[in-house]
Every structure is written in structure tokens, then in C-alpha cells.
């Protein structure tokens, strides 16, 4: 049972993130929701590589026993870098939208008159 806790955490993070993206009205809260989903998926990638009773895969002459898989760790690192870039882009766009419209409410931004 204790080895299922990371997977339950993944499900909780993804569901809370989706709730924040769909139902919240502030732009910053939508951005936080996307970051939560992305943290959940990264946690899922890392948890797949764990083997019971294993050590870190950093040795050349390894001690006896199993090592956890190093490939998911590389995949997760790439995903974190992509997440940083997307977060920086979304926050810059939020700053621009605030300077243009004066509000961060999604319902008020979409109502401007079509010229």
C-alpha cells in the first residue's frame, strides 16, 4: 500500500490542476493550474523508474544490489526544462495583457468590441 502513494499523489495533482484551468477566472490561477498538471506528470515519470530496495544509478563500480532506472530521470529533466520555458512565456503574456486591459479577469478580456 505504501508504494501506491506516489500514484495517488499524481492523480490528485492532475485533477486539481485540471479543475483550476477549467473553473478559475484569474489568469495567474490558470497558469498555476497548468504548472500543477505538469508537476503531476513529472512525478509519474520518475515513479516508474523505482525498483524496490535500489540505490541511485551513479556508480561505475556499483555495490551489490539493484539500481533504479536512469532513463526516466533523463526524460523528467527534459520535461522540467520545457515546463520552465512555457511558464516564462505564459507569465510574460500575462504581464502584457494586464498592461493592455488593466484587468486579469478572463471574462472581461474577451468582451472588447470588435473593430
Amino acid at each position: 500500500m505504501i508504494y501506491n502513494i506516489p500514484f495517488i499523489a499524481v492523480a490528485a495533482l492532475v485533477i486539481i490542476g485540471l479543475y483550476a484551468v477549467i473553473f478559475k477566472r484569474n489568469l495567474i490561477k490558470i497558469v498555476i493550474g497548468i504548472t500543477l498538471i505538469e508537476s503531476g506528470v513529472n512525478l509519474f515519470l520518475i515513479t516508474l523508474g523505482y525498483r524496490e530496495g535500489s540505490t541511485a544509478p551513479i556508480y561505475t563500480n556499483s555495490p551489490a544490489g539493484t539500481m533504479s532506472l536512469p532513463v526516466p530521470q533523463a526524460l523528467t529533466l527534459t520535461s522540467i526544462v520545457i515546463g520552465v520555458a512555457v511558464l516564462a512565456l505564459m507569465l510574460s503574456l500575462s504581464v502584457h495583457i494586464y498592461r493592455h486591459y488593466g484587468t486579469l479577469d478572463v471574462r472581461k478580456i474577451g468582451k472588447e468590441e470588435e473593430q
Binding site: 541511485a56 551513479i58 561505475t60 563500480n61 520552465v84 516564462a88 507569465l91 504581464v95 498592461r99 488593466g102
Partner: protein, 158 residues
């Protein structure tokens, strides 16, 4: 944004070189210990973000123009892809080939490290780590600096 008080400025300018050394250590030992280009670059960039917060973005922008950071970023990326292209001409002629391993014409970084944890192992990977680290430092520092500077401008004056 304006800077903080004199005590904070003194302490942060004292701590900043240690943060730099720690980040460069992580970049340089990327092929032996956990770490590498992105992780070390993120540590150095958080040190630079500390400078932006304590000294104020207007002062920092007057010392380092954003265009010079763009040149560093391009140099890092061109170095990375250039090293990948060189692998197309030596050795077994494949893109991204590790052309420094197990050969004697260029006598650096050509051990393979069976049982050793020396620095001069793993071929062309440490150079690629440096290139990626330079790009990440310049890129993240530019992001933090420009976003902090953009909040000082008033609304309507784009």
C-alpha cells in the same frame, strides 16, 4: 523596482561568488556526479536573480544590457550544434558522434573511465555541458531581468 537596504546589498554581494562557484562546479562535473548543463545554469541564474532583487532592476539593467546577454546565448547554442556537426566529419561520420573518445590525435578527454572517476573522461560531453550551461545562464538571467524591468514602466507607455 528599486533596491533594498544597504545591509542586504552588502551580504548578497558577499554571497554571490560562492553561488557562482557552486553552480560552475555542478556544470563542470556533469558527467561524473548528478548535475550537468541545465541544473548548474539554473543555480547560477538564481544567484543572478538574487542580484536583481537586492540591487534593483534599473541599476542592473544599466550595468548589463540585454543585447550582450543575447550574444552569450547565441554563442552557447552555436557551440553545442557546432560540436554536433564536427562529429559528422571525424570517426564514423554520424551526426552527434562522440569524436573525442578512444582516439589519440587530440589528447584531451579521451579516456573512457573504467573504474575511474576522473574529470578527463567521457569525450565531448563536458564541452557540451559548458555550452548548455552558458546558454541557460544567459537565457534565465535575461528572462528575470526583462520581466523585472517591465514592471517599472507605467501603463500606456509601451
Amino acid at each position: 523596482m528599486s533596491g533594498m537596504s544597504r545591509i542586504v546589498k552588502t551580504i548578497s554581494s558577499f554571497v554571490f561568488p560562492f553561488v557562482l562557484i557552486y553552480g560552475l562546479y555542478i556544470i563542470a562535473h556533469g558527467h561524473i556526479t548528478p548535475g550537468g548543463g541545465f541544473q548548474g545554469g539554473a543555480v547560477v541564474a538564481s544567484g543572478c536573480a538574487m542580484i536583481v532583487v537586492t540591487y534593483g532592476s534599473i541599476w542592473t539593467m544599466s550595468k548589463i544590457k540585454e543585447k550582450r546577454l543575447s550574444v552569450f546565448e547565441s554563442l552557447g547554442a552555436v557551440g553545442f550544434i557546432g560540436l554536433a556537426f564536427i562529429g559528422l566529419f571525424f570517426g564514423s561520420k554520424v551526426f552527434f558522434y562522440n569524436f573525442l573518445m578512444r582516439q589519440d590525435t587530440i589528447p584531451i578527454f579521451n579516456n573512457v573511465g573504467e573504474g575511474l572517476s576522473n574529470i578527463n573522461t567521457a569525450g565531448v560531453l563536458p564541452f557540451m555541458n559548458f555550452a548548455v550551461g552558458l546558454k541557460v545562464i544567459a537565457g534565465l538571467f535575461a528572462i528575470v531581468l526583462v520581466m523585472a524591468y517591465a514592471t517599472t514602466k507605467k501603463e500606456g507607455s509601451k
